[in-house]
C-alpha cells in the first residue's frame, strides 16, 4: 500500500501540470484583465496598457506561463495583484471558513443522508420511503444558493434568530461561529444529503437482495445485525466513493454559498478574484483545490482497503 500511495502522489505532478496549463490558459486568454479593474472606468486605454506592462501582462503567453509554473514548482504561488500579499498567505487566511464549512456540510450530509437512505431501503415502497425520496429529490433539485436565500429570509429576516451573513472565528467565539455557520452548512449539506440518501438506498437495496443476506436471515441472525454488519458494510463501498465525490462538489458549492452568506473563505476569494481578474489568486486557488481533490480521492481509495478486505493494491 505504501508503494501504491507513493505512486499516486507522484502522479500528482502530471495532474498539476495539466490543471495548471488549463487554468492559466483560461484566465489569460479570456477577455478582461486586472488593470482596467484597478484603474476604474475613467481610465484611458493608454493608462490600462501602461499598468498591464508593469504587471508583466504584456509579455508573451509562454513567458508568463514559464515564469508562473516555475514558481509553482518552487511552491511559490506568487503575489495577489489586489491584496498585495502572497497568494499562499491569502489562501491560508481563508482556509478555516472553507474547511469548516465543508466539514460541517459533509457531516450533516452523512448524518442525514446515510440513515435516510438505509431507512428508505428497509421500508421500501412504504409511505416513509416515498416521503424520504420526495425530500431527497427536492434537495437535489433546489440549488444550494436558492435554499440559502430562503433560509436567510425565514430565519434572519422574518424571525431574526440568526444573522443574514458574516463569520466569527471559532477560536474567538465558538457560539457566534456556529450561529453563523448553521444556515450555510445546512444549505450546502442538504443537497449532498439528498444525493447520498438516494445512492445509499440504491446500494442497500442491491446488497439486501444478495444471497448471503438471505442466508444470514435464514440462519436466524437479528435483522438489525443483518442490515448493519452485512448489508451496510458492503453498501459502503459505493457510498464512500460518492462521499469522496461529494467532497469535491461541496468545495465547489462553497464558492457560491460563501458569497451568499458573506463568509470570507477561499470560495469567496476565488469569486472576488475572478470578478477582478486577480490572476495569481485564481491560479493558485484552483491549483490548491486540485491538490486537495486528488488527495481526498487518494484517501478514499485507501479507505476501501479497510472497508473491503478483498481490495488490495499491487505493491
Amino acid at each position: 500500500m505504501i508503494k501504491y500511495t507513493i505512486r499516486r502522489l507522484i502522479l500528482l505532478l502530471p495532474v498539476l501540470l495539466v490543471v495548471g496549463i488549463l487554468v492559466f490558459s483560461l484566465v489569460h486568454l479570456a477577455p478582461g484583465d486586472p488593470a482596467s479593474v484597478m484603474l476604474g472606468s475613467d481610465a484611458t486605454n493608454e493608462d490600462i496598457l501602461a499598468l498591464r506592462r508593469e504587471l508583466g501582462l504584456e509579455d508573451p503567453f509562454y513567458v508568463q506561463f514559464a515564469r508562473w509554473f516555475g514558481d509553482i514548482l518552487r511552491l511559490d504561488l506568487g503575489d495577489s495583484f489586489f491584496l498585495e500579499r502572497p497568494v499562499s498567505e491569502a489562501l491560508l487566511d481563508r482556509a478555516q471558513p472553507t474547511v469548516l464549512l465543508t466539514v460541517y456540510s459533509l457531516t450533516l450530509a452523512i448524518l442525514i443522508g446515510v440513515p435516510a437512505g438505509i431507512i428508505s431501503a428497509i421500508k421500501r415502497n412504504s409511505l416513509i420511503d416515498r416521503m424520504v425520496m420526495m425530500v431527497a429529490i427536492s434537495g437535489v433539485a433546489i440549488p444550494p444558493f436558492v435554499l440559502g436565500i430562503l433560509l436567510i429570509l425565514v430565519f434572519a429576516v422574518s424571525f431574526g434568530w440568526l444573522s443574514a451573513g458574516g463569520y466569527a472565528d471559532i477560536r474567538d467565539d465558538p457560539i457566534e461561529h456556529f450561529k453563523h455557520m448553521v444556515m450555510p452548512a445546512f444549505s450546502l449539506g442538504f443537497s449532498a444529503a439528498a444525493l447520498l440518501a438516494r445512492l445509499v438506498r440504491s446500494a442497500m437495496l442491491e446488497t439486501l437482495g444478495e444471497d448471503y443476506v438471505r442466508t444470514a436471515r435464514a440462519k436466524g441472525i437479528a435483522n438489525r445485525n443483518v442490515i448493519i454488519r452485512h448489508a451496510l458494510r458492503n453498501a459502503l463501498i459505493p457510498t464512500v466513493t460518492i462521499i469522496g465525490y461529494t467532497l469535491g462538489t461541496l468545495l465547489g458549492g462553497a464558492v457560491v454559498t460563501e458569497t451568499v452568506f458573506v463568509i470570507p473563505g477561499m470560495g469567496r476569494l476565488v469569486v472576488q478574484s475572478v470578478l477582478r481578474r486577480d490572476f495569481p489568486v485564481i491560479q493558485g486557488a484552483v491549483m490548491t483545490i486540485a491538490v486537495f481533490y486528488v488527495l481526498a480521492n487518494l484517501l478514499v481509495d485507501i479507505l476501501y482497503i479497510y472497508i473491503d478486505p478483498r481490495i488490495r493494491y499491487g505493491d
Binding site: A30, P31, G32, D33, P34, S36, V37, M38, L39, G40, S41, D42, A43, T44, N45, E46, I48, F82, L83, E84, A90, R94, I149, I152, L153, A156, V157, G160, S163, A164, G165, G166, Y167, T259, V260, F261, V262, P264, R268, L269, V271, Q272, L275, R276, R277
Partner: protein, 603 residues
C-alpha cells in the same frame, strides 16, 4: 465601562489637554446630568481653565464625549448650576454672559451631542481595489477613502466649488498666478500638522509621478509650483487655467492630500499607510471582511455650517465599517435582518419588497448617473455621420430609461450635466429623444447602409446598461438596422471596448460630476476615442477660461457639438434606490459619492 464614566474620562482628557474650557465642560456636564460635586472634582483634578482662556484647539464636539446612548441623561436632574430641567439647555448652565456666537455654538453642541454614537455598517457591492485614490477611479474607493482623506477644494450643496483644506485662493488679474493659503492647525491622523510641504509632495506624486489625467493637465499649464511659507503655495501658470480649483477638488481619482513622507515613499506604488486629515481615521482592513474606520477625535473642522460636501463635517458615528457583499440579495437580506445599516447599488426592483419593511427606508435618490450610448469614433461604419444620426433619430429615450431604471427612477434630460447644477443647459435639445423611425431610415439610406451587423457592447453586470442595450437593439432593428448584443462581464467590457474593431456601439454611464471638465469624454484617448478638432478647441477653452461665464459658454458649445457630431447619444439621468435602516437620519450626501458624516442614528 458605564457610558457616563466613559464620557467623564473623555471630558477629563479634553480638559487636561486644553481642548475644553470650563464653560464648555459645564455645558456638557449639564447634558450628562452630572452633579455639582462631580463637576467640581473634575475641575479641581484637571486644573480647569479660566473662562476667559480659549482652549488650545478649536472647540469640536468630536473631541468631547459623544452623547451616544446617554441621550436619556440630559433630561434627568436639574443642575445646581441652574441648568434648565427639561432640555438641559447648556447655554444657561455656565451662569455667565455669552456672546450670540457662543450661544449659537452652545445650541448646536447640545443638539449635536445627542447624535453621537454607534457604528455604521455599510454593505458595498465590491471591495475597493485600493484605498489610494491617486491610482484609481473606482467608485468603491471613492465611498471609502473620502471619509479619511480630504482635498484642497470641495463642493457645497449647490455644487459650487468651495475651499476645504484651503483657507483662501487668490488668482492674479492675468490668471497666471494661483496662490493657495492653507488652513492652519489642520492635523493628520498621526498628529502632525498639514503644511505646504505635504500638499506639494502630494500634488507632485499625483500629477507627475503617477500622472493622473487632471494632474497632468494642471502641470502642463504650470511653470512652477513653489512653497512660499508653511501655509502658502504659489502656482506660476504658463496660461490661465480656469479649472485650477476643480482639478484639485473632491472627485474621482482626486488629489487626496497625504503627509509628505507617505507620498514620497509610495511613489508609483500604493500607499502603505492610510493617514489623512478626514473626520475618520483608519483602524483595520481585513480583505473580504471589512474596512473599519473610527472617528478622528482631533479632527479640525471648518467653521462654516455644513453645506453639501463642504463646511462643517460632523462625525457622529463612533465608527464606520464597509463590508463587501457581492450578491445583491444578500445585501438586501442583511439590511432587512439588521446586519447592515446601508446597502449600496440596490436595484429599483427591490423597492416594493423593501417598502413593506418598517425597519427599512427605500426611496429614489437624486439623479446621479448620466446614461450614454457611445458610438465608435475610431473605425467602422459609425465614422459615417449619417449612421450616427440614424442612431440618434431612432432612439426613444423614455422607452430605454423605463427598462433601464424603472418607473420613478429616471429623468429625461438633454443636458451633458445634471439639472439642479449650475452647468445645466438645454443646448441641442431638439436633437434629443427624437424616436423618429422614418427619419432614422432616411439617414440609413443616405449612409448606404447595407445591413451589416451593428454590434452593441455592454456589461451584463450593470443592469441598467444591459436593459438599455436590449431596448436599443429593438429600436435599431425597428429602424432597419441589424443589431446584436455582446454582453460581457465588467473587466471584459473594458478590455473589449479598448479593441475598437470589435464593436460599433458601447453602452456606458457617467457617475455624477460637478464640472464638465471631470467627464472622461473630455479626453481624446478615452472610450470611443472622439477627437475632432472642434472638440479639442472647445475643451481647451473649458479648461483655460477663468471666468465662469466663459467656461459655461464653452460647456454649452460642447453640448451642442455633441448633438451635431453625435459621438454619443444621451438617454437620460438615472436615480439610485437608496436603501437604509430606518434609524439612520439625514441621508443627504449621496449624489457625488456617499459621505456618511452629518448622518446619525435615531431609534
Amino acid at each position: 465601562m458605564h457610558e457616563t464614566e466613559k464620557h467623564l474620562a473623555l471630558m477629563s482628557d479634553a480638559l487636561e489637554n486644553s481642548r475644553l474650557s470650563r464653560r464648555q465642560l459645564l455645558k456638557r456636564s449639564a447634558i450628562f446630568g452630572l452633579s455639582a460635586p462631580v463637576i467640581g472634582s473634575l475641575l479641581a483634578a484637571c486644573g480647569g481653565e479660566d473662562d476667559e482662556e480659549e482652549p488650545a484647539a478649536e472647540s469640536d464636539p468630536t473631541t468631547a464625549a459623544p452623547a451616544g446612548e446617554a441621550t436619556d441623561e440630559p433630561e434627568a436632574e436639574a443642575e445646581p448650576t441652574d441648568a434648565p430641567e427639561d432640555e438641559g439647555d447648556p447655554t444657561e448652565a455656565s451662569g455667565a454672559e455669552e456672546t450670540p456666537e457662543e450661544q449659537a455654538e452652545g445650541e448646536l453642541d447640545a443638539e449635536d451631542e445627542e447624535r453621537y454614537g454607534g457604528e455604521l455598517r455599510i454593505a458595498i457591492r465590491n471591495e475597493p481595489p485600493t484605498i489610494d485614490f491617486h491610482l484609481t477611479s473606482s467608485t468603491e474607493t471613492f465611498h471609502v477613502a473620502m471619509h479619511m482623506f480630504e482635498t484642497l477644494f470641495t463642493w457645497d450643496e449647490e455644487f459650487q466649488l468651495v475651499p476645504d483644506l484651503v483657507d483662501t485662493h487668490e488668482i492674479s488679474e492675468d490668471g497666471l498666478l494661483n496662490t493657495l493659503h492653507l488652513r492652519q492647525g489642520v492635523l493628520f491622523h498621526d498628529g502632525s500638522e498639514l503644511t505646504a510641504e505635504d500638499v506639494v509632495a502630494t500634488i507632485d506624486r499625483w500629477a507627475n509621478v503617477i500622472g493622473v489625467g487632471f494632474g497632468e493637465q494642471l502641470m502642463s499649464a504650470t511653470n512652477e509650483m513653489r512653497i512660499v511659507d508653511d501655509y502658502t503655495i504659489e502656482f506660476e501658470m504658463s496660461e490661465p487655467f480656469g479649472t485650477f480649483g476643480v482639478v484639485l477638488s473632491r472627485q474621482n481619482n482626486g488629489c487626496n492630500i497625504y503627509p509628505k513622507e507617505i507620498a514620497e515613499a509610495a511613489g508609483e506604488e500604493p500607499i502603505e499607510e492610510f493617514i489623512g486629515t478626514g473626520p475618520y481615521r483608519f483602524v483595520e482592513y481585513e480583505p473580504d471582511q471589512h474596512f473599519l474606520m473610527e472617528r478622528f477625535e482631533d479632527y479640525v473642522y471648518r467653521d462654516e455650517p455644513s453645506s453639501g460636501y463642504g463646511g462643517r463635517k460632523h462625525a457622529y458615528f463612533d465608527a464606520i465599517r464597509f463590508i463587501p457583499v457581492t450578491d445583491e440579495a444578500a445585501r438586501v437580506a442583511g439590511l432587512r435582518a439588521g446586519d447592515y445599516d446601508f446597502s449600496t447599488d440596490t436595484s429599483s426592483d427591490q423597492l416594493e419588497p423593501l417598502q413593506g419593511d418598517e425597519n427599512v427606508v427605500a426611496e429614489a435618490g437624486p439623479t446621479n448617473s448620466n446614461d450614454q450610448i457611445l458610438l465608435n469614433m475610431d473605425q467602422g461604419m459609425m465614422l459615417d455621420i449619417n449612421m450616427r444620426k440614424a442612431v440618434q433619430a431612432a432612439v426613444n429615450c423614455e422607452g430605454i430609461l423605463l427598462a433601464a431604471h424603472g418607473e420613478g427612477f429616471f429623468e429625461l434630460n438633454p443636458g451633458l450635466m445634471w439639472e439642479n447644477t449650475v452647468w445645466h443647459s438645454t443646448a441641442g435639445e431638439d436633437l434629443y429623444n427624437i424616436g423618429d423611425l422614418d427619419l432614422a431610415k432616411q439617414y440609413l439610406e443616405d449612409a448606404g447602409y447595407d445591413g451589416t451587423e451593428v454590434r452593441i457592447l455592454v456589461s451584463q453586470e450593470w443592469l441598467p446598461s444591459y436593459n438599455t442595450a436590449v431596448i436599443l437593439q429593438q429600436q435599431l432593428e425597428d429602424a432597419g438596422m441589424t443589431a446584436s448584443i455582446q454582453a460581457v462581464d465588467a473587466p471584459s467590457y473594458s478590455d473589449t471596448r479598448a479593441d475598437t474593431s470589435s464593436w460599433e456601439i458601447a453602452i456606458t454611464f457617467f457617475n455624477f460630476r460637478t464640472d464638465p471638465a471631470q467627464l472622461p469624454t473630455m479626453r481624446c484617448e478615452w472610450g470611443n476615442l472622439w477627437c475632432s478638432d472642434a472638440k479639442v478647441d472647445i475643451v481647451a477653452r473649458l479648461f483655460s477660461e477663468v471666468q465662469f461665464e466663459d467656461r459655461f459658454d464653452a460647456g454649452v458649445d460642447l453640448q451642442q457639438l455633441i448633438y451635431d457630431e453625435v459621438p454619443a447619444v444621451k438617454t437620460g439621468d438615472g436615480k439610485p434606490l437608496l436603501a437604509y435602516s430606518a434609524r439612520l437620519q439625514n441621508v443627504e450626501l449621496v449624489r457625488f459619492g456617499y459621505a456618511f458624516w452629518n448622518m446619525w442614528f435615531e431609534e
